[in-house]
Symmetry: D2
Subunit: 303 residues, 4 copies
């Protein structure tokens, strides 16, 4: 399978294709796909890992409630934005360091490690002092300075695909990170820009098996940001797991109607329970197990 | 779920949205989604139906072998093109009536009912005299004259989404058929045109649950034409079933390398066996059963 | 210039590219681009031809007024839809033969030859008995049966690009027509489907010089349907002429607010006068002349 | 015209549309579009300004030759990349500060002010000490940290549209810069991602008049990066000027075949002379004048 796939179109090409330009993250010459560990939580072959949490950290109460919902629903990693990249300067841009502190407190209570976005190389030390995993967002998917910086940071990275980027460009963005010293990268498909306007973006489900065969990196899916509609998050999660994704990341909120960001796509606790049941079934149907919480003492303590 | 979804973007809109413009095929005011029967084969809630066959009918031997592979792999409906719409006038355009005769002979041997494409209203009587189900292809997804004609024909219709059409336009195409008298329509998602060139088109997996909630019509997926790569057909089939698709349609060929059309995406018999196992597991994981072959005497005899 | 261009991506490719698959309409081996004559009106090198008229024929009065506006604005060919392909079965679909009769009466009064759309091979004799030029619309850009039929008809053809079709597929659609006997084809760029939703489609202005260097056929632009906004029609017309288009086709309506189809993009008489001034200036700036009306007796009399 | 346009689709909407979310850069409530001055070179109404130079600064000789070609061809601003954002970590990424020094030397010789890209907030002081104008590239079009930083810098900004960004998102990116204190912004359309692969991106020519009516900022076009093919740069330049663009920016190279970046799209000196003639004619045809070089003593001296 691997040999036949390529990001270079569907032609059979000439006698021999050139090696892929993303040599470090490529599958070529590797025995098997990688597992990336995030404070005891694995992403990789054999496991299906659920990441959940609020789109934005708003208050300690909202974040803790969302985290407890996430945990009750089987999530083993907490997502939450303290630095939010938004399209408008007048939108809510996150609480910054105050948000990071809230995340750390919630981690202390729940034991869930944290993935949170870093927007700029200058924030990297600050964010790294709180986070278990750094997220590079879709708007920064080709921000070379940031990619280099997270390559030099010591933490694992969740790399979202740019909404205007090809699979090849996504793998090359990962290669930037790897080239600067960090191969602990989890790829995250989150939908691309297309002419279809019924959904916010178009989840490119084919990118999951494609990236998994071209690259040795784990691949997860963010159905919430792909579609922008709560009602589609469950079927898209099922599709992602069935396609072979190594996990999914979903938005949850204790009160979606009042969310400061993207409430329209946030799951409630009941939604998440239903989703967790589906994830278990689909993981079993594809020969994998859902990642279970680790004993508390293994969790990293926030800096 | 149904009330909240719309093809009109992701905004919550004003106080009340207008009724959808595809009123006959809409879910609004209906108790449940429809089941469409094709010579004893169901498409609809509770069932997962596998359609397989050669992209093009080339010879009696190739068609029979492909049909037996399809049947051995669990397919209950045979696909096969006698009239092929191609982008170039110099490509193979199918055997025409001779191809229809071969399909009928293969149906007589295998008992598999036939779905085959009709390209023009003037061919409708001819194709209808052989087919169990008419296919309207992606290039004719907005060919109004053909949509009206198949609306007046007595056979069920497999309506592919136009590769440049929104979900709303796809449902409106179905509405044309329904408006002219025929509500036995199965929608088929087959990928849309996007900037990603690693796959032939981009399978819009979100369109499956979206169309199912907006419309009462069954929705199937054609992973073969979506991606154009054999290696992706299996994971995309799993994704389609997990997303809730009422079936999948795949290309098979006894000798893909020699296929006159789209051999690059055709499954072999072994591939199809593996796919059938996956389909069974995924159907079970989503609370459905795979459609089983009907006893031979129930099959329609070709005209 | 010609040798370096290709529809096959931006790579320099291997030692030698294969000849284009659209051999009849290709520039390869031809001394110069073609001029297509429509009842005395030229499309081709050296001339800039303005086509204008109502999107749909609604009444004799509206059509005559629109035609007189078109003529006063310098148009030498009248557009007007009698058979309208619409996305919804509940939209206005044109007056059919009654619309063709109105167009013929308006031609008798104004002397303007007529281009009008044909939707289906079965309507071809009827439409051909009234029209000076047949239009194949964007929704039928890959309707192979129709392309073959207009290839066998004796009239020149205005071939719109499919909104989901590449330049190569557009040229291949033209090749279908040429292959069936008719090389009197004018290509019409009318916008493609993209993620940008501020305009109805995205005018692919690069397709104009690209198609002109790859093919010997004239290329015109329909700015009205590309953008769907009256205010953009004038700057897009200027851009089209400057890019080298052999003409433009625009919607005009005596009362855009009451139009049964696409009134939002229709020009008024004053708009068209302003546009005609721009067209003259741009034609001069690019070394060409605007096509002038022919003496009345040369016009074809309707059948 | 202005009141009727919107980035919010083509519907006429409700009784009254909300004010645009990009209030500082909006046309609403302003008497006229702005002119942005760059070391004596104007961008804005009435003027057509030509920017040219090498994609990348490679050597002092190559840069000086390219600059002299640019100047001979009528350019009044020199482009040249010292920090290059590339998709692959293994591509040439520019000479960094050494490149900035070369640009400053070439400015001292030719008198041409310099626009050059800044990739990261941490490089801003360095780049600002050499540049006359800062470029924010397409890959950083939604890099919020960089947008904020250039908003606080004292230099004018050339803001490229993200290849996956809507016009609204582009204007919001400008709003970020304006919101942080800098309204000296020139917008640059450089093509968007679409399914058409014959060109590198698809130049969205409609975005020029659209952005000019929605925003008071000048809008220029980069035809070189839009199409990626030298042969299309001239017709696209003509289209841009005719559509009303306040200028164009093109790649030139003394020896395109040996260019370290994007040589396939670079113009030669002869190409640029031909282009300059076209630009003059088109400017005249649209009632504007081409910006002429300023006397030498007005140029800024590099820091």
């Amino acid at each position: 399978m691997i040999a036949a796939l390529s990001t270079r179109g569907t032609s059979t090409g000439g006698p021999k294709e050139a090696p892929p330009p993303y040599r470090l993250v490529s599958m070529e010459g590797k025995a098997s796909r990688s597992t990336v560990w995030v404070s005891g939580v694995p992403f990789g072959p054999g496991a299906v890992t659920l990441v959940a949490g609020p789109c934005s950290v708003e208050t300690p109460e909202q974040t803790l409630q969302a985290a407890m919902m996430a945990q009750a629903g089987g999530a083993t990693l907490l997502r939450g934005g303290a630095f939010k990249p938004r399209s408008s300067p007048y939108s809510f841009h996150g609480l910054g360091e105050q948000g990071l502190k809230i995340l750390a407190e919630v981690r202390a209570v729940t034991g869930l490690p944290i993935v949170t976005e870093v927007l700029d190389a200058s924030d990297l030390d600050l964010v790294s002092s709180y986070a278990d995993m750094l997220q590079v967002g879709t708007r920064n998917a080709q921000n070379v300075a940031l990619l280099r910086a997270v390559g030099r940071a010591g933490l694992p990275v969740l790399l979202k695909r740019g909404m205007g980027c090809t699979v090849e460009e996504w793998l090359l963005a990962a290669e930037f990170i790897a080239h600067h010293g960090n191969e602990r990268i989890v790829l995250c498909e989150r939908g691309i820009r297309t002419f279809e306007s019924a959904t916010r973006c178009t989840l490119d489900i084919s990118a999951v098996p494609l990236a998994q065969s071209l690259s040795r990196l784990p691949v997860v899916v963010d159905p919430s940001h792909s579609c922008g509609k709560r009602e589609l998050v469950l079927p898209l999660t099922r599709a992602a797991i069935a396609a072979g994704a190594d996990g999914v990341m979903v938005d949850v909120h204790p009160d979606p109607e009042s969310a400061l960001c993207d409430g329209r796509q946030a799951l409630t606790g009941d939604d998440l329970t239903e989703l967790a049941t589906s994830v278990s079934r689909l993981a079993a149907a594809t020969g994998r197990v859902v990642t279970r919480p680790r004993p508390r003492e293994e969790h990293r303590v926030a800096g």
